[in-house]
């Protein structure tokens, strides 16, 4: 199967700039700088690339919104705060091919009219931080970053900023707060980042994987890209396969392959008997149908979300109540604590699920959980709280008998 982002990943020392250039690196930047920023955006729009961080927003459109804003300066921020349990894909890119991200960041900056880019990276990614910093230094020495890049009138600076370990800082507005030195708490939207992002300025914020698609799109054209994978959300997607599979790992595959194909053909099959899967990590709803196509629309149609592509496989020996409990525990810890539905809702859900896990559930609490989930979805400020109950609600809907089995008699 054709790989785009991991195409050259087996080339030794790819993280060194000369090796990267020898394998065709920075060609896309050279090409982009000969295009107008508008043409670059048009090319990305033509590719129909959507965000790979989870929200699946069209990348070209996001760039266009940011470019159109009158306020200056503008910023491009890369969200590399990969923290969703079961997600470990951006790390693979940054570790093995840091220049791909650097190149994409310069192209993105050129497209939206930003002279400054920041990569906000998960604090524990020590090795990746080192490699990115080295890549930026090399790129600057070669003139891919800095004043008047490659003889063009475009100047660009790029910097890596380490997060401090809060999951919520992967939420874009909390990320800006953190980047500005504040508490990692989500902002109310609107205004959206395109108008009011980092330092209150127009900002495009993209996930690592999303950005890393851009050089290939520039090199080969958006048209080419749009024909790969599922027509609804074309391209390849990184799937972080984990849980009860024989070969867990990161797989770059065209969107639209089925969950079954992913598990059987790439993951070496389920360890034990398949029961359910969380296709987008702990923020997503369970799916039980392995024929679901893994693209944004199809997974949404199946009542879940593809998110960042953290496909967690659960076998039949696992209690769904325990799965729900384990998911919510994560959100209790990681809620920023700002809005009531998330801060209080997650811990009350944890309290109730704890009772079920211990065989002391109450029948009426099943409806209470569903009700709580609805209110959290409806009122929480950011995606963290809105999605925190997805796993629980789907667990109740699909495996109610398991909850009933944990009711205290």
């Amino acid at each position: 199967m054709e790989r785009i982002l991991l195409k050259d990943v087996d080339i030794p020392n790819l993280c060194e700039i000369d090796v990267y250039i020898d394998s065709g690196g920075y060609k896309a930047l050279e090409k982009a700088l000969k295009m107008t920023p508008k043409e670059v955006i048009e090319e990305v729009k033509r590719s129909r690339l959507v965000g790979r961080g989870g929200a699946a927003f069209p990348t070209g459109l996001k760039w266009e919104f940011t470019r159109k804003e009158k306020d200056e300066p503008k910023f491009l921020v890369c969200n590399a705060d990969e923290g969703e349990p079961g997600t470990f894909k951006d790390r693979v890119l940054m570790k093995n091919n840091p220049h791909l991200l650097v190149e994409a960041m310069v192209i993105g900056g050129y497209a939206i009219g930003a002279n400054k880019g920041v990569i906000y990276i998960r604090g524990e990614y020590f090795e990746e931080i080192g490699r990115l910093n080295k890549a930026i230094k090399e790129a600057r020495e070669k003139g891919y970053i800095g004043e008047g890049i490659l003889g063009s009138g475009f100047s660009y600076e790029l910097q890596v900023y380490r997060g401090a370990g809060a999951y919520v800082c992967g939420e874009e507005s909390a990320l800006f707060e953190s980047l500005e030195g504040g508490r990692g708490c989500a902002r109310e939207r609107p205004p959206f980042p395109a108008q009011y992002g980092f330092m209150g300025k127009p900002t495009a914020i993209n996930n690592v994987e999303t950005l890393c698609n851009v050089p290939a799109i520039i090199n080969n054209g958006g048209e080419w890209y749009s024909r790969i994978g599922s027509p609804a959300s074309p391209g390849t997607k990184f799937f972080c396969l984990s849980g009860h599979v024989n070969k867990p790992g990161v797989y770059e595959l065209p969107t639209g392959i089925t969950l079954r194909e992913l598990i059987e053909e790439y993951g070496g099959g389920v360890k034990g008997e398949f029961k359910a899967s969380l296709p987008g990590g702990v923020s997503s709803s369970l799916v039980t149908d392995t024929d679901v196509k893994l693209d944004y629309k199809s997974v949404a149609d199946a009542g879940s979300m593809l998110g960042s592509g953290a496909v967690i496989v659960i076998n039949s020996s696992t209690s769904i109540v325990d799965v729900a409990k384990s998911c919510i525990e994560f959100f209790v810890r990681e809620s920023c604590g700002q809005c009531v539905p998330c801060r209080e809702g997650t811990r009350r859900a944890n309290e109730i699920l704890g009772r079920f896990a211990g065989g002391k559930g109450k029948v009426e609490d099943i409806d209470l959980l569903l009700e709580l989930g609805e209110v959290m979805y409806d009122t929480a400020r950011c995606g963290l709280g809105q999605a925190a109950m997805n796993a629980t609600i789907s667990a109740i809907k699909m495996f109610k008998d398991e909850f009933m089995g944990r009711v205290e008699s």
């Binding site: 539905p341 209470l368 400020r381």
Partner: protein
């Protein structure tokens, strides 16, 4: 203008208006908790959510601006259901000590729970067991009751710019803390108590000394005297069933007598005395007889004084050395009064009733012992006095008006306006004019320094000398004048600073609320009393003449310096 419909009614409001404000146009007050008029919207409690057609989720109305064609529903089933659940979630964690809580009957959470019909708390919940912050002599914080609405933080940061509290931790561990959890008593807290006013629940309160005062009153060996600040008479009635804007000076004196105070004086006397000292000091600085810099800053607001000691110690020499009226009264009660009556000063217990939480701190300052004893023993807030009146069953509304004891209780209009922002300035100018020119100032109402503008300025012609004055209330507003002075660019001779928005009528010890309109009304009440009093200049007060003739000598004299003036201390920044 933006056109939208709210509950089917057409509304047009200026762009930038919040949905919550727009809803007022159709007579809807959207329930809310973390939102408070006068503070930036925070949008964290989500109680004010509304349904907006076309939006996937409910929308917090305090923070979302209206947009053209928006269709809003403020109390659909989905909205009401969500609000109930949100309050239910907060209640699940909240201590169930409403009977004994400081905010009994005045709790916004309790009121909200009733109003939006929370029927049952279906969650087990956990009652937190955080340690109380009891490090401050003025304010006690109980994080167990905190609902994390962030109002105290916003008022401390945005209005007062003191910034000693903030959120720490995340998720369920989130709490409001001071630096390193050292406590309010060990940080730059000015004790202004505005955080108490904005807290919707009982998580912040004054350190009460009601029991200590009762004990003193019941001790036959003690002689308990009391003074009441100007702002009390403009607000005490509110706590006892009277509308905002009722002057209760006479009833206040009558109630204090019935509580058992041996003698009821009035801080207004000491306010007149302050003007004598401070007015002379100002004239001395202007004429060069006192070798201290201009502008001279007022010194009666202890919140401002501590703020200055932390944040602007370089302006210490600019601050008048006069003690505040409370602290002028204190030593006189144990010297002048004790001498006059032959009472052993050791037996005198000096109580003050103040609109202020910072006064509790001020009374405990180490230097406030010039009488040989602690000059002021106990400071009650307006709220604490109201509770004592209620506890004693005194029927406040039917009380007769009674005067304070004239010796240290007679006062002029100049004293009573101390309670409103700009009042000290106006009072001082009335006397300073006389001191400089030997003539009385004809037009006593100096209107430019009155009212609720954050910074007010005026120029007064004193026999050809253009005296420039400025007034700021609220510490955030004060910074503008302070920074200007620090930069050596202040054009003013005299600057009045009050820590609290509105001046003392908005002090941290006043009836709860952050309603600036109510504070303005209280101020107007004091100006009205001033207007109605025969004597309106401090130097005309016969009791003031008497205290100088019989005891102090002359303003800025030796005895005055010992008893009525003080010094300040540079305080570390934490």
């Amino acid at each position: 203008m933006v056109a939208l419909t709210i509950n089917g009614e057409h509304v047009k409001v200026p762009g930038g208006t919040s949905i919550m404000d727009a809803a007022k146009e159709v007579h809807i007050n959207i329930p809310h908790l973390c939102y408070l008029e006068g503070l930036e919207p925070y949008g964290a409690c989500r109680v004010c959510v509304v349904e907006v057609e076309g939006e996937r989720r409910l929308i917090p109305s305090c923070i979302r601006e209206v947009s053209e064609g928006m269709k809003v529903h403020t109390h659909s089933a989905r909205v009401r259901h969500a609000r109930r659940m949100l309050i239910e979630l907060l209640l699940a964690n909240h201590p169930e000590d409403c009977f004994t809580c400081e905010r009994n009957q005045k709790c916004e959470l309790l009121k909200l729970a009733y109003e939006i019909c929370v029927g049952d708390v279906r969650f087990e919940g956990e009652k937190p067991s955080f340690e109380l912050d009891e490090t401050s002599p003025s304010i006690i914080r109980d994080p167990n009751k905190c609902v994390l609405c962030g109002r105290c933080i916003r008022v401390c940061h945005d209005v007062q710019t003191v910034r000693v509290i903030g959120f720490a931790n995340r998720g369920p561990e989130t709490k409001v803390v001071t630096l390193l959890e050292n406590g309010l008593g060990n940080v730059e807290c000015t004790n202004c108590g505005q955080c108490i006013h904005v807290c919707p629940v009982g998580a912040i309160k004054e350190r009460s000394c009601v029991d200590e005062v009762w004990t003193a009153l019941e001790d036959p060996k003690k002689h308990v005297v009391v003074q009441e600040a100007p702002a009390i008479r403009a607000a005490l009635g509110e706590e006892l069933g009277l509308p905002v804007g009722t002057l209760v000076a006479g009833k206040m004196h009558a109630a204090l007598k019935r509580l058992g105070f041996d003698v009821v004086f009035d801080t207004n006397f000491a306010a007149d005395l302050t003007i004598m000292e401070e007015g002379n000091e100002l004239v001395g600085r202007i004429t060069g007889k006192i070798k201290k810099p201009l502008p001279q800053f007022t010194s009666c607001s202890p919140g401002w004084i501590k703020f200055m000691e932390h944040f602007y110690p370089e302006l210490m020499e600019n601050v008048s050395t006069c003690k505040s009226p409370q602290q002028m009264f204190g030593p006189l009660s144990k010297t002048y009064y004790a001498e006059k009556t032959g009472i052993d000063p050791e037996k005198v217990v000096s109580v003050s009733v103040m609109p202020c939480t910072a006064k509790k701190f001020e009374a405990q300052r180490a230097e406030m012992t010039d009488s040989g004893y602690q000059d002021v023993d106990y400071v009650l807030t307006t709220r604490e006095l109201a509770r004592m009146i209620k506890e004693a069953g005194i029927d406040f509304l039917t009380l007769p008006d009674e005067p304070a004891e004239p010796l240290m209780g007679m006062y002029t209009g100049a004293a009573t306006i101390f309670g409103a922002t700009g009042g000290v300035m106006e009072a001082a100018l009335r006397t300073a004019y006389k001191l400089v020119t030997g003539r009385e100032l004809e037009s006593l109402d100096i209107k430019p320094v009155r009212g609720m503008d954050g910074v007010k300025t005026a120029t007064v012609d004193v026999d050809g000398l253009e005296v420039k004055v400025a007034v700021a209330h609220g510490l955030g507003n004060a910074r503008k004048l302070l920074n200007e002075t620090k930069a050596g660019k202040s054009p003013y001779h005299f600057i009045e600073i009050m820590a609290c928005p509105g001046g003392c009528v908005g002090g941290g010890g006043q009836p709860y609320g952050f309603d600036m309109a109510a504070r303005a009304i209280r101020g107007e009440v004091l100006y009205k009393e001033d207007k109605e009093l025969t004597l309106r200049r401090s130097h005309e007060n016969p009791s003031i003449k008497k205290v100088y003739d019989d005891f102090l000598g002359k303003p800025l004299g030796k005895k005055s310096h010992k008893l009525l003036h003080t010094k300040y201390t540079k305080r570390e920044m934490t």
